[in-house]
Symmetry: C2
Subunit: 186 residues, 2 copies
DNA sequence: GAATTCCTTTGACATAGGTCAAATAGTGAG
DNA sequence: CTCACTATTTGACCTATGTCAAAGGAATTC
């Protein structure tokens, strides 16, 4: 999924606007298992995933990694509130497969927000979509059995569910690896 | 919490802008237990809570009410995705105490989004804040014991926790009324 | 202010999913 | 190809929280 195409699907930018906006993204190739942001650091970059995939996670009180979200192709990836509020990130951000990312700094995006009303609209729409997805996850987690939660995972991340370690998915869904393993069996 | 003051705290509107924006809100008084939106209806109005409080909830497969969110003084209240996408609401919206609300229609808010770049910025910031709060709830629900979840509730809605029926809070926190009752004891 | 309805507490018991430990299967480096 | 390491599966057992049922308390209505 190309960044230019993606932007066009959200808001009807003109060609000139698109060219300007896209020129502020820097293309980067990142290898598997690379960490983009650490817990406690301020997240300086917004990433758009053209190829590959990533996840955000944090360490709980026992030092266990808890996956917070998966970011697939055609999505923005970031430690959202750290990036937008420039506060220390609660999450690690890592790449799970060799990836091609388009990167933009906070100051560049702020400039674009200020310059283009439509850019601000896009920001709002993307945030609203994320909010909706978060509500979906919440409802799945809050009231469904372990099996139903796994079904939610398959529906929300069909492309990702079979490409990442079991334990990442289990912690994302709020269950143990053992439970998820048993579910996949039956 | 006055709507004019609230808007000023988020984005530095000029006095003229503020006057224009606020003029599109219609003040309404709503009595306790009144339903503002039903599941399946399209939510036509965004509400700002000046006084009182409300909640959103849905009916699960057994017909039980599940509280999805509480809206206190100084917050926007709506069935967010129904309102912004004009799709059937997944939630009921009801007022839990006699309330004073400022109401705005979708078309009015869209006009203001189009007219004022700053209004769009406000939309994005409010949505981001809601997203952050949703993530907090998710983390509480996903990995904490029933007791810890109740502590989260007290922290997030200190003003609300003692003013609504136990069952509303229990379903919000993803536990039974009986469990919450036992927690409040010990 | 009695009646009705709704809300909260309490008790006994059931169970989904967690914990701990060990066995097995995959995977990447040399 | 083999070793070393990591990820997954399996089993036995445990516990937090759910379910069901009934009894108290509060609050609203007439």
């Amino acid at each position: 999924m190309n960044i230019t195409d993606f932007l066009s699907t959200i808001v009807p930018f003109t060609d000139d606007e698109l060219k300007d906006i896209v020129s502020h993204f820097k293309k980067e190739t990142v290898l598997k298992n690379q960490t983009l942001v650490r817990q406690g650091e301020v997240c300086k970059t917004l990433y758009f995933v053209e190829k590959g995939m990533g996840r955000s996670y944090y360490l709980n009180e026992n030092g266990k990694e808890i996956t917070q979200w998966f970011f697939g192709v055609g999505k923005f990836m970031s430690s959202v509130d750290s990036f937008f509020q420039q506060t220390p990130s609660l999450y690690y951000l890592e790449v799970l497969e060799d990836a091609t990312l388009y990167c933009m700094s906070k100051s560049d995006i702020d400039q674009l927000f200020a310059k283009y009303h439509k850019m601000e609209t896009m920001g709002r729409l993307v945030t609203t979509e994320m909010l909706t997805k978060m509500v979906n996850k919440l409802n799945a987690i809050q009231f469904q059995t372990a099996r139903e939660r796994y079904d939610y995972m398959l529906a929300e991340f069909p492309d990702i569910a079979y490409r990442v370690p079991l334990g990442h998915i289990a912690s994302y869904l709020g269950m143990t690896q053992e439970t998820l393993s048993r579910i996949r069996k039956g």
